[in-house]
Amino acid sequence: MAENAQNIEVLICTGTGGIASGSLKVAEAFEEEFKKHGIEAKVGKRCEVKKTGCRGLCANDVLVDIMVPGKEGVTYDFVTPELVPQIVEEHIVGGEPVPKKTAGAYYAKFLEKQHRTIFSRCGHIDAESIDDYIANHGFKGIKRAVTMKPEEVIEEVKKSGLRGRGGGGFPTGVKWSFAKGSPGELKYLICNADEGDPGAFMDRSLLEGDPYCIIEGMMVAAYAIGCTYGYVYVRAEYPLAIKRLQMAIDTCVERGILGDNCMGLGFKFNLRIKAGAGAFVCGEETALMASIEGHRGMSRPRPPFPAVRGLWGKPTNINNVETYANVTYILERGADWYASIGTEGTKGTKIFAVTGKVKHTGLVEVPAGVTMREVLYDVCGGILNNRKFKAVQAGGPSGGCLPVEAIDAQVDYDSLIKAGAMMGSGGLVVMDETTCMVDIARFFLTFTRRESCGKCIPCRIGLKIMLEILERICSGEGREGDIELLEDMAYDIKKSSLCGLGQTAPNPVLSTIRYFRHEYEAHIKEKECPAHACKSLLHFKVIDEACKKCGMCKRVCPVDAITWEKGEIAIIDQDKCTQCTSCYDACRFMAID
């Protein structure tokens, strides 16, 4: 930021995660501190607090960066309002970072293997400021796009090799050319921000941290395809994303960036937000369009594809948030640059939301083609409590679980599908030895069954029956032949469902059976849950040989059912125990059975 070269900047993460950890209070504390002591006069520079988007390491919020001109930026983690005066006193006035409070070596490691392109602005610019965006190469992509013919723009996107980031992986340029080729004056452009997959939140972070980038990507698409009207369909569960995006759209309209003559470049594009109302199936494109039209969000058969007959019967192009963000960078830096990153079949970077039992949960952007192992161990620091890694669930409810044998697989569309999972939206949920795979399959089916729109029978009835079988297995009433029956049903449902929800819903069951069949068998034959997660199959006894007498179980027990004295083995009172599994999760020595 050339004009602010002499400012000391305090960058505070104010994404949903940051705010939940109290970042607004931290920001206030900084502001107050600056006022109270007349800090600006002391250091002879303007100090400003910037509220940025998420920078990915949500587990250690609140993250604060202090950027002193002419020096390396310093990052503090776990900042609380109480710590602020010390940071201001020692670092901003004294010029020396506060020892022991800065983010440790892990933070550098967390960033080291990443390749932050799409996220390059998140966490560095004020999310709500258009001037900040423009100062950081904002709107360069669209300015370059209008110097080309629309066909050339589509060619550029094709050449870059970008594939849809919503999970399907369809080549974006090809999709655009279909919509471009459809006859008709009026065409619609839709951005799919209905990020319903539990465990994925990269779209939300992009909308909250860099909303103008999405608007720019959509402008490029609108220019290339010839759409005059656009919708962004955002989940209702993301109030902050809706607020920031609306603010960004309003600012763009005020400045003439959106409207009848975008930026004076001679094309018309208007943009509107459409808030969803809580239905997972609305992430499927035909259901999403039905929802915008004000109907129940039910899928319809394709063809006709949206590119031919979509919203209100007009040709429509739908892409995911992250896809549009990629488009912005492709147009700004060129297709060749983009195609130089990634693997043969998957170009560019992919953002993953890594959650579950890893040390550093958060958002990670890596070039396509690194291995799952690198993501989990190098970037995210490995498994919590030094437990054993068991599986990682990739691609949400439509994906599958990868066991330890498969984590050397590269993360790109094709290798993941080969391994029985899928890229999906990019949620990675990590599980350790205390997670029961049958229970996970049951969890996903509970979700997809509840979210099924009910239009087609295989999905509506089939998933219900599969779920009943899984529930039976989890409660210790599994029968011989259940596994085969599940497999049979899964294939039938996959073959005969109407839309992507039904076609992919059985995937978690199939992949857990494929890799963890022995767990199913243990549930059915021995009535045992090897991971000790299924409540009805649990005993809750302390294994005397394994107990290290640390008292951790007593500390976490919510009903005081555990008696423990220093140096003694813990005893669980079976009458008081509510079988909540708190102690089992907390024990680091696997001493509770």
């Binding site: 958060g362 996970i440 708190s582 999760d585």
Partner: protein, 165 residues
């Protein structure tokens, strides 16, 4: 119809606001969902009278509107508590023990998913994912998000809200 719904039905619903909302969206394409969302924002739920008014003014069948209302999880046909406790049941939260939190809410308040306490103070909801997976397990009370929850922390949070009026 639950008791709370009956109580609400006894009171007349003031339709002025509903009419104003309809004025605003009358000519918009696909107005139904934004109208229903605005009505819910104002009343806290969708009263029956507003459904009939909306049907008349937008010229669609009430049955169609009920079709939409019952399809989407966000719409509620009965009054809801002052404090809405959302227990996230997303994958990451599930793996880190969200089921336990749901059970505990039921023990403390006697309500599980989509139920409201008799004094209309608390409503409990199990939601799919609130997108704060980095801090799983998570609960929300109205707009405040509480991350890295344990059963003990949950006790404290609920107690805090029980003391408020």
């Amino acid at each position: 119809m639950s008791e709370t719904a009956e109580k609400a039905a006894e009171q007349e619903v003031d339709l002025t606001a509903c009419n104003e909302i309809l004025d605003q969206y009358q000519d918009m394409q696909g107005a139904l969902m934004p109208v229903l969302q605005a009505i819910q924002d104002h009343y806290g739920y969708i009263p029956e009278e507003t459904v009939h008014l909306t049907a008349d003014r937008l010229n669609i069948y009430a049955s169609q509107i009920y079709g939409v209302l019952t399809f989407y999880a966000q719409f509620h046909l009965e009054p809801r508590g002052k404090y809405i406790v959302r227990v996230c049941m997303g994958t990451a939260c599930h793996v880190k023990g969200a089921g336990r939190l749901g059970d505990r809410v039921k023990e403390l308040l006697g309500i599980s998913h989509a139920e409201t306490t008799e004094d209309v103070k608390f409503t409990c909801e199990y939601v799919a994912c609130i997108g704060a997976c980095g801090m799983a397990p998570v609960i929300m009370v109205n707009d405040a998000t509480y991350g890295s929850m344990s059963v003990q922390k949950l006790n404290e949070v609920i107690e805090k809200y029980q003391k408020m009026d």
